[in-house]
Amino acid sequence: MIRKPLLAAGVAGLLALTAACGSGDGGGKESGETALTYLVFETPSLDAKFWDDSITAATTQTPGVKINKIVAPSTDRDGYAKQLQQSGQFPDLLQSITPSNFVGAGLLKPYDKTWIDANFLLPSANSLKGEVYIPPTNSQIVPQVYYNKKLFTDAGITTAPKNWQEFLDACAKLKAKGINPIELGGADPFAASMPLVGIISADILGKNKNWLQDRYADKVKFADADMVTAVNKYRTLVTSGYFDKGALGVKYADSITRFTTGKSAMYPMGSWFLGSVPKDTADNFGSFPWPTDSGDVVVPFVGGGSMAISAKAKDTALAEKFGQAWSLNPANLKALIETDGAFPMIKGKTLEDYNVTVTKVFEESYAYVGQDNNKVSAIGWATNDDALPAGLNDAFYAAAQALFTKDDVAGELKKLDEAWKTAAQ
């Protein structure tokens, strides 16, 4: 019977080992620090170093906090935040999420409004039913069209297109020259939707700023005739061959390099692309707003920002302090401006105050924020009351990908109405 105690000891030992490696990874409990989890996402410009540096900086300003960084597996941090929530580990702080996805279940805690009003140029840019869950530290235009000046010259195009017809003419000229007119990173659903975001924001929201509110009130539908006409413009671009035939196989990260290395002439993308413009050839790139039929300028605008706070955070007050420190840190803003093309929105500061070096195309694009023009919520990107109902973004992206390969505009839009019904139930 000598084997039995041995076996028992073995099993006990293994169990102890399991327990040990379970408890060993908690971390941050020493010296009275409170550990908070912080969900971030990485992009080619917002890399691990940016997050680590910014966390370190804000941590030194917030005594008693220890941050455990969680990186989302894709830029779809909303999806990942839900997945974490669903499996019981909703993070304490969540960078650039869409609050409307989470406030319904009471998962987020709003920021102190006096602090918001005191510090930001557009305090209500991200306001959702009167509360602000994400400090509006910066803003974005989603999308703008970026273009390669040399390729335009090669195709005999002298000025940037000002309306839809000029845009189509430019595409035709480029294609005739054997240049791929429009870059699309279609393998990543959000990137695949960019032209559609431009078309709907410009053509539909440009004419009716309250379209999304009207949609919530069931006064308008995706299947309405004006929307079908607008979305058919996307089909025109596809069927005319103005995108690479294999665009749905191009990853977002690859689409950036394809455009910056001259594989395509135009790139409709959120203004964060400005951070990826290569420094040495920056002057070769320009930008223009997504064109409308009439040539009126419509700016699909998003109040971007920093992080939301979980209502269930271990220490919500401390979490808010960390969020505030991070949001106002000029070094973070500098990095965001330079690498992520963020348009800063902090009160009392101009671009010079951040001591940044920006490209000419950045200044050109940023100008649209300050100008008095027709700013509308960028559909699918707004995080305020104009945000899509939870889950509809996925349906919208899927429709964008589907319309790349099939012609059934009305059918896809009808599906969106159905998805809206399910989502809003």
Binding site: K4, K82, A105, G106, G246, A247, G249, D254, Q401, T405
Partner: protein
């Protein structure tokens, strides 16, 4: 006569064994049977943690499935993939096995190599194939450089091509497995059988049809069943290779369930779809295995 100490020792041994067995069964009940029952229960509710709702809604989820286009598309994709891969991987497996069924060193090396895809995790397999199949990938670069293609072909970028590409990758993985199974089956054919056949002048395709093929039947059963089940459960390769795209065209039912449960927060509906997938898996596995078993006997 047994002395009392022996009996006591033996009884404690019996109890110890029964305890271990009960522990195993208990773990299985808690981590497989119970989740299954919870999932079944949830399929009759509108459970949605983000809306803080969890009410009993009867069969509503099941009736909703009838009109769910995404579900229909995912089932079609899953079944095409499962049967396509099963047929291709088994055909390749038989072919490989016949080709490699020799004993010299070179064949043994080749056999070792043929199984390698099975050893690598699906994540690695998918990443490696992605570098090959993506728009700027190695395959397109090679084909364009060799002037076989004028422009890159969207191997992962169009619905049909993506289905084909995933099928190709999964077939590649499964063929390693089927080859080894068929090799084992081939080697279990008694040599005398072949000798008798040679004496009788049965060779070539006829010998394959009359002797080899029937003798492979038990191998076919196991290999087909496991191929089918593996593809029905498949998650990692699709997730990494296409993430279900483009336009959800490669979203298998398994992926759809995870998306519904973890991203769309429709836990109740996700559970109902899970029950459907479970039913289909059981049906496919039982009918196909049953048919193949009967075939073993009749051949």
């Amino acid at each position: 006569m047994e002395d009392r100490r022996t009996v006591r020792k033996r009884n404690s041994g019996e109890r110890g064994l029964a305890l271990l067995a009960a522990l195993a069964l208990g773990l299985y009940l808690v981590f497989l049977v119970l989740p299954l029952l919870l999932s079944l229960r949830s399929s009759f509710t509108n459970e949605n943690p983000l809306k803080a709702q969890n009410d009993f809604i009867g069969l509503a989820n099941y009736t909703e499935m009838a009109g769910d286009d995404q579900l229909r598309a995912s089932l079609t994709f899953t079944l095409i993939l499962a049967f396509g891969v099963t047929i291709a991987a088994n055909a390749l497996g038989v072919g490989f096995a016949l080709l490699l069924n020799r004993t010299s060193l070179s064949y043994r090396v080749m056999r070792t190599v043929a199984f390698l895809p099975q050893v690598l995790s699906g994540v690695i397999v998918a990443f490696v194939w992605q570098t090959i199949l993506t728009q700027n990938g190695l395959l397109n670069t090679a084909l364009v450089n060799l002037r076989i293609l004028d422009e890159p072909y969207p191997w992962l970028g169009s619905p049909h091509a993506a289905l084909f590409s995933i099928g190709l990758v999964v077939t590649w993985v499964m063929s390693g497995f089927t080859t080894v199974v068929y090799l084992a089956a081939l080697q279990s054919i008694p040599l005398e059988l072949h000798d008798m056949a040679s004496l009788d002048g049965v060779r070539g395709t006829q010998r394959f049809r009359k002797i080899t093929w029937p003798m492979l039947a038990p191998g076919t059963t196991i290999s087909v069943t496991i191929s089918l089940i593996t593809v029905l459960k498949l998650y990692d390769i699709i997730t990494v290779l296409t993430g279900g795209g483009p336009a959800n065209s490669t979203q298998s039912t398994a992926l759809y369930i995870v998306k519904l449960a973890f991203t769309s927060d429709r836990v109740g509906y996700a559970s109902a779809v899970a029950m459907l997938l479970l039913g289909i898996s059981a049906l496919v596995a039982l009918t196909v295995t049953g048919a193949l078993r009967r075939r073993e006997v009749s051949l």
